[in-house]
């Protein structure tokens, strides 16, 4: 067990114009499952590979526990990784795959067999130990990859989009299994995904990365309720938060000709600005006769909820808007509704920097 600390850690690929990971400061606490999430190209997998020792740091420091591992070989870091495509050794059986690291470490045959059996039991793989990877289903391969990591009892687990090759149903099931396994073993885990639902459901804390820069790292609840900037606001939540450039005055922001009251701290932070980026989640609208009018272009019915899609006329032109309503009697496409923002459920961001106001 150990905590992991990135201190001003950067990674620049040779010939790249800018760093793929830029001055990352991040701590994974002892026993924590921290999920690293971001769009493709955000550098999240590179962060993982830096920790694994597969990509060198171009500057900064990387610690596992008290040990500076920045310059150590992958094998000297006591870290196990689950690869996106599992990277099982095709010529070895499941048992040999799981015991390979122990064999290299000189662990006796009996002890190896015991530990492989323990891990196999935990993952329900006992019946498959003699099989080769190509004779396994996707879900089974995924579990073998997990097993290979567990057997070693490493200080840190790394998981690189381990569920992305599974079908939707299996993904949900495996998500739960990984979470409970991690809780049981208590091994510090860094988990990379581009799927924000995975991030929100699995992570004790979630770190959001964009263009190689850490945007925010906090509990899923805080990320959702108080996003630090417009990027996090738009990335976390599905459908995404509505982000609208609107005029602002001392009395609040104006949305579709209707005043939206802002918290005093927000107004204070917005002093001197004539406009700001207003963030409203789809579920933060309510129907109200005195609200602004939205013409509905299309309706997505999901059963319990329905999402209304329309265009809102703003100063800069029309902006798309998504609104969640009760799914039992949604308005039809082509009709119009009057809406207002629920009290206190509004986010405001700086129009240029995107940073949260107040």
């Amino acid at each position: 067990m150990a905590n992991v600390t990135f201190r001003q850690a950067s990674c620049t690929y040779p010939g790249a114009p800018r760093p793929t990971v830029n001055q990352l400061d991040l701590e994974v606490r002892d026993g924590e499952l921290l999920v690293l999430v971001g769009p493709s190209g955000s550098g999240k997998s590179t962060v993982l590979r830096m920790l694994a020792g597969l990509e060198p740091l171009s500057s900064g420091e990387l610690r596992v526990g008290d040990l500076d591992v920045s310059a150590r070989d992958p094998g000297e870091r006591d870290i196990a990784m689950v690869f996106q495509n599992y990277a099982l050794y095709p010529h070895m059986t499941v048992g040999e795959n799981m015991g390979f690291a122990l064999k290299l470490a000189g662990v006796s045959r009996e002890e190896r067999a015991t530990r492989v059996r323990e891990a196999a039991q935990m993952l329900g793989l006992e019946a498959l130990l003699e099989r080769k990877p190509k004779a396994l289903s996707g879900g089974q391969r995924q579990r073998v990859a997990m097993g290979r990591a567990i057997v070693r009892k490493p200080r840190v687990f790394l998981m690189d989009e381990p569920l992305s090759n599974l079908d939707a149903k299996l993904r949900v099931q495996t998500r739960g299994e990984i979470s409970s396994l991690q809780a049981r073993l208590g091994t510090t885990t860094l988990y990379v995904t581009h799927d924000q639902v995975e991030a929100m459901t699995m992570g004790h804390r979630v770190a959001v990365l964009a263009a190689g820069v850490l945007q925010q790292c906090d509990s899923p609840r805080v990320l959702y309720a108080r996003p630090a900037n417009a990027f996090v606001a738009g990335f976390i939540g599905s459908p995404a938060m509505n982000l609208l450039k609107v005029p602002v005055g001392p009395a609040g922001a104006m949305l579709g000709g209707v005043r939206v009251p802002l918290a005093p701290s927000t107004l204070e932070a917005a002093q001197g600005l004539t406009e700001l980026t207003l963030g409203v989640r789809p579920e933060s609208f309510e129907l109200a006769a005195d609200g602004f009018r939205l013409d509905i272009d299309s309706v997505e019915e999901l059963g319990a909820d329905a999402f209304l899609y329309g265009q809102l006329m703003l100063q800069e032109g029309p902006a798309p808007l998504v609104v969640r309503v009760d799914g039992r009697a949604p308005p039809a496409a082509g009709s119009a509704v009057n809406l207002r923002v629920r009290q206190g459920e509004v986010h405001a961001f700086h129009p240029v920097t995107g940073l949260r106001l107040g």
């Binding site: 694994a52 020792g53 597969l54 070989d73 992958p74 094998g75 000297e76 870290i79 196990a80 990784m81 690869f83 495509n85 990277a87 050794y89 095709p90 010529h91 390979f100 690291a101 290299l104 470490a105 290979r148 070693r152």
Partner: protein, 279 residues
């Protein structure tokens, strides 16, 4: 496939063309086999026959019992030399190719280019220097002279280099995280996964050596030290036009090749297509 689709005009043209091509390739082999079963008289008859009128094994018995032509000895010599060379080529090319494909070495690309540039030299240019070297080593008229010079193969390095680069890198990374040293990664992960390519290279090396004619003729002098192709060529002069015996020798020379291909066919096709050298 139904008979109707088999007989569609375009298909028909394709099949006829393929059959003709197959025949063009097979004809010399069939002729060799046929002649080996003929009598001396029939072999030189003015109207050639595809099928021997009265098949006889005379050619085989005479080639196997000829006192000045120890064909079995030559066969064994060829087998030894070609097998040894095939083993050595794989043993030297695999580590070299892996180092050039994956290890972080300064000047790696230059090194690969130098190795590959030797492929463009005509093989004949090596005859004299190799001969002098073999003489200096005292290996003239020994099997070492036939097995060793080709044992470090630039083609082998290139071929395996391409193959190793096509292996998924994650496997080697996973092994590195499992605390495997580069040598252990090579031994426990890369080599087992490369069996098709290694088999292909071994086979190609074996065949090159097996069929080589000029070099053994240079360095092997005593009658009982010759390899099969070199020996058979000597027979031609001493036996003037004793065709059935020569063809019987050629059939014997082809048998190992055909047997090897039969067993290794699947591996070879896989090995060649995976290295992207197809066609």
């Amino acid at each position: 496939m139904t008979h109707a689709s088999l007989l569609r005009p375009r298909r028909l043209v394709t099949y006829v063309a393929l059959l003709l091509l197959t025949f063009a390739y097979l004809a010399p082999l069939l002729w060799m086999l046929s002649t080996s079963l003929k009598s001396d008289a029939e072999a030189v008859s003015s109207t050639p026959h595809w099928l021997p009128a009265s098949p006889t094994l005379q050619g085989y018995t005479s080639v196997l019992s000829a006192e000045d032509a120890p064909v079995l000895r030559w066969f064994l010599n060829s087998l030894l030399a070609a097998s040894l060379q095939a083993l050595l080529v794989v043993a030297t090319a695999a580590p070299a190719a892996y180092a050039l494909a994956r290890l972080e070495l300064p000047g790696r690309k230059v090194l690969l280019a130098v190795v590959m540039s030797t492929l463009f030299l005509p093989p004949v240019t090596f005859l004299a220097p190799s001969f002098l070297l073999i003489g200096w080593l005292g290996w003239l008229d020994t099997l070492w002279a036939v097995a060793i010079p080709g044992a470090a193969s630039a083609f082998g390095v290139f071929f395996l280099h391409q193959f190793f680069r096509s292996l998924p890198r994650e496997l080697e990374e996973a092994a590195a995280l499992d605390r495997a040293s580069p040598l252990q990664v090579f031994w426990h992960v890369v080599l087992p996964l490369s069996k098709p390519a290694l088999a292909t290279l071994a086979l190609l090396s074996f065949l090159t050596n097996w069929n080589d004619f000029l070099w053994p003729l240079y360095v092997l002098l005593s009658a009982d030290r010759l390899t099969l192709p070199a020996g058979l060529s000597q027979m031609q002069s001493s036996y003037t036009i004793h065709y059935p015996a020569i063809m019987a020798g050629a059939v014997l020379a082809s048998v190992p090749v055909l047997v090897l291909f039969l067993f290794a066919q699947r591996h070879v096709i896989e090995g060649v297509s995976r290295t992207g050298l197809k066609g």
